[in-house]
Symmetry: C2
Subunit: 129 residues, 2 copies
Amino acid sequence: MNQTELWSAIQWNDQGLLPAIAQDAESGQILMMAWMNQEALQATMDSREAVYYSRSRGKLWHKGETSGHVQKVKAMYLDCDGDTLVLQVEQIGGIACHTGRASCFFRKFSGGSWEDAAPVLKSPDEIYR
Amino acid sequence: MNQTELWSAIQWNDQGLLPAIAQDAESGQILMMAWMNQEALQATMDSREAVYYSRSRGKLWHKGETSGHVQKVKAMYLDCDGDTLVLQVEQIGGIACHTGRASCFFRKFSGGSWEDAAPVLKSPDEIYR
């Protein structure tokens, strides 16, 4: 497979983006979902650390650039349709979420409502000061 | 939390959709990513089986309706931003992908290319006949 095939396998959406799911490589826990453009994916491949595209800020986002909670990419999988990526990562600091939790998926559906189901490991004030 | 709060926690995208990641509840393997509209999420909550919204067909898609490979929902998590869902499921038949593989994420990035990294467990001809 050459460079062209590598990229042509990917189906970017109308905005030129691809959803990327980060999963803890050891535990299998799903940590977060974010978006990549081609530049972000190239930067992820080059650095072997997760680099996303921040839709709100309109620029590349090297995950952990402020918090130190970078994601070292151990493996990367594309799905059958080529429109979603899974990153298996080592989550430095054990915290993926900006709320200070291990995973962004901490609101569990329970008894007809969403309940916080995971502890804050470190306060955001402490993470981002 | 009342019905209004249950739904107001969710940030649907411009098309009124939410990405939903299905994960094997036992092994932690990520099986697929698909989309839900409010009707699909309501149907998922009601039936406790994954119901997505097919963007290509423009209608609800009860996963497994043809193949029998339904996903029994064991737990459901919303992320910090309220814009992505994780479903922990029991994958009936052990096959989530229309290609006959356990997971849709079978193309592994390896040596600069995407390589098929998982076996076809059952041929699509057999699944969909």
